[in-house]
Subunit: 237 residues, 2 copies
Amino acid sequence: MATLKIYADRNSQPSRAVILFCKLNGIEFEEVKIELFKREHRSPEYAEITPMRQVPAIAHGEFKLFESHAILIYLACAFPTVAGHWYPTDLFKRAKIHSVLDWHHTNLRRGSVGYLLNAKLAPVFGLPLNPQAAAEGEKVLIASLSKIESFWLHEDGKFLLGNDQPSIADLSLLSEVMQLELLDENERSRILGPFKKVHRWIEDVKNATQPHFDDVHAVLFKTIATAKKQQVDTARS
Amino acid sequence: MATLKIYADRNSQPSRAVILFCKLNGIEFEEVKIELFKREHRSPEYAEITPMRQVPAIAHGEFKLFESHAILIYLACAFPTVAGHWYPTDLFKRAKIHSVLDWHHTNLRRGSVGYLLNAKLAPVFGLPLNPQAAAEGEKVLIASLSKIESFWLHEDGKFLLGNDQPSIADLSLLSEVMQLELLDENERSRILGPFKKVHRWIEDVKNATQPHFDDVHAVLFKTIATAKKQQVDTARS
């Protein structure tokens, strides 16, 4: 069996989705850390893995692939041990999963990244904060959460599309929503507060993916704790 | 056989990709025009088809679907007459097609829409032009074209990913690039000029998809001709 290498930074939401998927399905892999904060994704060596210089990427033997949704689908098909609910073979169910994943790119992800980067994270990457872009990102983020609440989550079935068991779409979208933990408590409440079904879905996906969920998110929680400590120290000094 | 309805505006690039795919594969469909310039996508009736109120969407019997990539994949799988090169069953080839389609969302499409909307089309939708957003869009657009030139097109094989025959990715990305015809000749040359392989690829996909290509793009060319006439009339008055 060819070795599976996953090039990832667990601070990145699509990296976490791919690693979590592998752990949930007993897929063995070697994790190659590409630390975004150290700009390791810009190295010439990493450009050999993916010319897009983003995480995650995989190398499965000689086969290289990037884009997390494409990777999740590939892994679900390449490993026969993966349970059917992650990426059903049924034509209609599969089409709906593609639809929510495509929607994610230009809605939830665009809003979440646009808001977080421009309201919070830009200085980490040597960029200025951009209040106008942050406001635009927040608008898209809230509209996206509202669509998850009113459309992608149904009354019957705990998971996206009204499914009884989680799919790769739940992993991808939840990893994105978890990134909002980087916000202050008040800010996060303001944004996520109104969406009761989204809250319940977050808990349901967490519960369905433990103990791997906590394990895969530990790096993000450590980053958050460090950032909060720095804020307190700065406020004191 | 269930009726296939395609809700589309041929001025929209993903609408054209879906219609072109059906015509190329002899898939019968009823086209339901949703005119964006008349804001027909905002009507309550259309919200029943897709709550996202974007084009294209399909209804195949009772089954409704939106997001053009998801639609292309669904149609390629639902109609057994579709030739294998459009969406190969091979695990690795299919994964690469997913990768280029996912990449498209946050690169070529983001750049193209960001530039065209903010530099040119905003007034049509009652919005102001936004030079800063246009500049950002142009940067993403040019970086994306550069990646098509240097990575997605290979020396061997005329089409994306070095394929000898076109795939759904060629239809989706070419429909996007055709939208740049809305620019003035000089502007279009400035943006597309440096990319020789992209130029050859445009011609190769056009040739491989005629006479349907011209047929499906006729509405866009008419829109462009009308806009140019209006510009000349405005300059004269």
